[in-house]
Assembly symmetry: C2
Homo-oligomer: 345 residues x 2
């Protein structure tokens, strides 16, 4: 473990769990009738260590970077879309901008390594480590030092922001390829099962992407050590996402994970520190090939299943009100006793 | 058709549909990448006949009534829970109260036939037709006149309220039995496949409920005419829900349908007037046996799939932010042109 990682406390708290279960079961509703919302309420209660949880200043973070591998024609869009979309996030026109406004989520975009020089802006956090990763078909995407720096920077981003919940997403043309590579290497899964159409490749494009990724894995066949895997195959925004999640969990913040690429960061982080998963809410099951497999490996389920495949933390933002509902229901619902409602016959 | 039903215009508008599709495809995102949210945006655009839809004064309606059949031991809870929960809705402690507050939904409870006399309250709309239905094991649950009156009253409730969207739910101990009976009779489905645990019957309770429902269907074996089916097997709140949905669709309001019982009202309404379905958003697939079958028959899918089985319009309220998101994304997202983002390579 090259760098010091924050300590994360596992959520094993049987006394509190029993209290929370009793609290949920006394609410004026049939036991268990709010389904997964109750599971979520339990998790939030355990994270916040209270039967009356509430969220403060939710932070939506979009980590963005470019990918050297993108020049191999693995994406339907050119790399300049990364910085152009960041401008779109900041000017309020992107999907995630609309959703952040709708739900009063504080939106920050983190430049982890975008191939563009931005004018400073309030919502743009500059943690640029390079102008892109290197083409992993020929070299490691990052040096080990860059990879460590990215994980640390992700932690710093979270430490610098207030609140008790983060929603984590990303932007980076070519990054579904990195996520597929990480999933394949970290879980020993056939790359074909990990590789999807990303932003919308056609059949020929998908075949090309798969063929390129097979060659990338072969080029880095000896990269099996955990940090080497991220350095050789990952992305600056993915490493930074992992660091952000680890830091957020260590501060007992709820971590709302977006789709496939954010998921790949958590898969990597969880192999370093499994307790991080206790703090994660999986916002949705995306349409991107590989995401369902990733969720199954982690033995988790997405809250939403709407065929989303946009990234940007848009799925996390769409799921956010459900997470807020879970906390509000636990905190605000009346009990059978307090409301004077009869119990079971 | 005993009463005059409002005319509902089907949503066949090919020119507008093409405009909406073009508008969605020009937004700064890969085509189709917002999945079912885009389908929803299309539907809302067609209903509101604009590429910039927005919702005004959303109305959440909980239709409540008691069921004579409840005395046969078909529910885990006694009938007095109906009025007690209505008090809980009004005093703000129920799940739907919490969710309505969270999303600024105007909550009204409609007394369609509750076995209780309420003091007048601002949010309580009195359309009481009886103090409960009659026990359908021995008699029709309603007279035909009561059934018609209930459908009409549902329409009046909607007409009296402002806004361009209604969220429809219910409360009534025993009403999952009525919904099961309606589903079985209207779709020629084995009652066993339509009957679930409701608020939480155990195995013995479920077997008893099924046995009772078999006898109810046998008692009313000649009730096959559409209005007779509702009168013999339905409930006052279910008939009123059907009337509310028909009226709302006739006014081009979006109709957000809660779970199994609200769904059974729509199933009945759709057999009278299929165009009502064009205006419906199916908020969730509930855990109640029969609901998935009902949705499949109608060839629709729930937005959420969280194992909910509470009723009260709680699933509709939980899904509401997604519906609002669909409208906001269509209205507020930038296009590739306006945001200066490059298109596909």
């Amino acid at each position: 473990m090259p760098i010091n990682l924050p300590a994360i406390e596992p959520l094993y708290q049987p006394v509190l769990q029993a209290q929370l279960q009793s609290c949920l079961d006394c609410k004026t509703k049939p036991v268990g009738s709010l389904g997964k919302i109750e599971t979520l309420a339990m998790q939030i209660g355990l994270i916040q260590q209270t039967c009356t949880p509430h969220f403060k200043l939710p932070q939506l973070l979009v980590f963005a970077a470019d990918h050297g591998l993108a020049c191999e024609g693995i994406s339907a869009y050119p790399s300049e879309v990364t910085w152009q979309m960041v401008e779109n996030f900041l000017s309020g026109g992107a999907a995630v901008s609309v959703l952040a406004r709708q739900h009063q989520l504080a939106l920050s975009v983190v430049d982890a390594g975008i191939d563009h020089s931005f004018a400073p802006r309030l919502q743009l956090l500059n943690h640029k480590i390079a102008f892109a990763t290197v083409n992993s078909l020929h070299h490691p995407a990052m040096t080990l030092a860059q990879c460590e720096q990215a994980v640390q920077a992700g932690g710093e981003v979270v430490r610098s922001l207030p609140g008790n919940v983060v929603l984590l997403g990303e932007m980076g043309i070519g990054n579904s390829a990195s996520a597929a590579l990480l999933l394949a290497r970290l879980t020993h899964t056939d790359i074909a099962l990990c590789t999807g159409r990303g932003t919308g490749l056609d059949d020929a494009g998908l075949a090309r992407k798969r063929a390129v990724l097979v060659r990338v894995l072969e080029r880095h066949r000896y990269a099996t050590e955990h940090w080497d895997v991220m350095a050789c195959l990952g992305g600056l925004e993915i490493a930074m996402l992992a660091g952000a999640a680890l830091q957020a969990a260590s501060e007992r913040r709820v971590v709302v994970v977006d789709g496939f690429i954010a998921g790949s960061a958590l898969l990597w982080a969880a192999q370093l520190c499994p307790a991080v998963l206790d703090y994660c809410v999986w916002s949705h099951t995306s349409a991107e090939t590989g995401h369902l497999h990733l969720l199954k490996i982690l033995q988790v389920q997405g809250l939403l299943d709407l065929g989303l495949r946009l990234g940007e933390a848009s799925g996390a933002a769409l799921a956010w009100p459900l997470i807020e509902s879970a906390a509000l229901l636990l905190t605000e619902m009346a009990s059978f006793g307090s409301a004077g409602v009869a119990g079971r016959s």
